[in-house]
């Protein structure tokens, strides 16, 4: 149990890893805070999580990225010790989460997706209770609460019942609960769900400020969020880890084609009817209403064929109303890996 606010830090883990780890991961094993080895969960005949192997190092932000139902939440529940895996192991600071749980969970902060709080308690009571359960005593409890309150700017909400708070403040209280023992590892399940753009921006700023100090594992189905926040992304599909790497390296897995959407307006025959003449491009056309046409173009749009396309439209006297680059390379990688059947896992970085 901690006393006077001094919570024990995690012991350095042994430098060992399961077979199949990429070279880059092996280079940072001494800083590994969380490690999942062969993590599998079956619910009857349904395999929800299928042999997940990954690690999170001190100071890095790692994103679980996957479509709804991919197994992200199930995986996180196993990582925090709420669900017992059908196979595999979770180590937190070198200790087994299920065997050594009470000792090592002091360095874990977890927030489920819907931010469940005890609605009949005030913010101060709730955080005080959670601090005590993390092992704080006496004045150290109050100091821990004050620190978390200051970090999440909850000073004006201390006397309010958590059930009466807005979604944004509930999220802040949930995060304050995570941070109350200044843990080494934060596990956040879809932390931006239900927040407005300002709140999302603020939360992202906070998480970025923790980079280098804490290990953060967050789940999201929003690609842009993963790109913006994460040092490394784990793409999960149908319970399996299909790719792992930095956003840049994962983008490199795409076929380098950029799907472009062009909305054009004009009169006369369809100006892009001869599009096939422009090498390497194929297009599908959708009516956008009135004189507008929406073209969805697949293929490499380099400088040369962009000029050709522009010249072609100008010669037909059609104007370009919108030009969207559409799917980015990482989006294409994500779509390819999560929509296609494939057994090959891609480990990058």
């Amino acid at each position: 149990m901690g006393s006077d606010g001094d919570t024990p830090k995690l012991a350095r883990p042994e430098m060992a890893g399961p077979a199949g780890l990429s070279e880059a991961r092996e280079q940072s094993t001494e800083n590994i805070v969380l490690e999942a080895t062969g993590l599998t969960k079956d619910f009857g005949p349904v395999r929800a999580v299928d042999h997940l192997d990954f690690a999170v190092s001190q100071g890095e932000i790692v994103g679980f990225l996957g479509p709804n139902g991919a197994g992200k939440t199930t995986a996180m529940r196993m990582l925090v010790g709420y669900l017992i895996p059908s196979a595999g192991m979770v180590t937190l600071g070198g200790g087994n989460i299920f065997r050594d749980g009470p000792q090592i969970k002091k360095q874990l902060g977890y927030l489920p997706e819907n931010v469940p709080l005890y609605t009949e308690m005030t913010v101060k009571e709730y955080l005080g209770m959670m601090a005590k359960m993390k092992g704080f005593h006496g004045k150290a409890t109050a100091r821990a609460v004050d620190r978390a309150v200051a970090m999440m700017e909850l000073e004006t909400m201390l006397g309010r019942q958590t059930g009466h708070l807005s979604r944004g403040f509930r999220q802040r209280v949930g995060l304050a609960q995570c941070l109350i023992a200044d843990p080494d590892l934060l596990i956040l399940d879809e932390p931006t769900t239900g927040l407005d753009p300002n709140q999302i921006s603020e939360l992202r700023r906070l998480m970025k400020s923790w980079r280098g100090q804490k290990a953060i594992l967050l789940s999201t189905h929003i690609l842009a969020e993963a790109i913006m926040l994460c040092d490394r992304i784990l793409i999960i599909s149908k319970g399996r880890l299909v790719a792992s790497g930095s956003p840049q390296s994962l983008a490199g897995l795409s076929d380098n084609s950029v799907a472009t959407e062009i909305t054009v307006r004009g009169q006369g025959s369809d100006p892009l009817a001869g599009l096939a003449e422009i090498e390497g491009l194929s297009a599908t056309r959708e009516a956008a209403g009135g004189e507008r046409l929406l073209w969805h173009i697949e293929g490499r749009l380099n400088a040369e064929n962009r000029l050709t396309l522009n010249a072609h439209l100008a010669s037909k006297q059609w104007e370009i109303l919108e030009w969207n680059s559409g799917l980015s390379a990482l989006e294409q990688t994500f779509r390819r890996l999560t929509l296609e059947e494939g057994d090959q896992r891609q480990d990058l970085d």
Binding site: V80, Y82, K105, N114, P116, M129
Partner: protein
Amino acid sequence: MRNVLVLADKEFKGLMRMPLGYVVLSVYALVSGMVLMTMINIFDHQLARVTQQASQVTSTKVIIDVQVVVVTPYLLNVAALLIFIIPFITMRVFAEEKRSRSLEILVSYPLRVWEIVAGKFLGIFGFFGLMLSISAVHLVILQFISAPHWGPIIGGFGGLILLGMTLIVIGLFVSSLTQGQVEAAVLTLGLFMIMVMAGEVAGGRSSLVQRGLSLISPLYHFQDFGRGVLAVQNLCYFISASLLFFALTMRGVDLLKWRG
């Protein structure tokens, strides 16, 4: 142990701040008060009748035992009332935590399963103690009406405490298995009724099976306490049943970790 007390405090205060807590206390106070008034009225009528009869025989001293006429029926009725009320104070303990996913946060903390179960039990038991304090006030009122023997009354209260303890633990067990509060309340009440009715169906019949069935009933084991009699087998029943269902509740919470 500290975690147990922290959780108990949260559970107790939670009930006290909810409409459910006030409703339960009010209903308990009202119904048990009405039971007491009824018993006192019966006592008065019997006393008046016997006094009138005795006045015709000058040498007869009138004695109506308040223990027999008021205290024991009051305690037995309160025990029956607990069968119906306790499911409503235990229904949300685990079912609500599972539904809201707050149990996930709790499990991610450095807590052991027995600490979670013990803390919740203690919190609900504390609320139950508040209910019993209402009955204590009721029985103190008797002091102004007659001269009750406090030994049997204290023994009866001890029985209520043991009965409440056992019923609460059974309620926690059912709550640990269910996903919804209403489901937990109905199943707990149903289980209580089956345990009580098994004893009632057995009644006073002599067959071995029927006698065995009567031993399941918590009310059957409370009856001696209600009369002010402390029987060891009844004490053993309540303690062992409580320990059994406490262990089963821990298993119920553990089962969540397997099936989600």
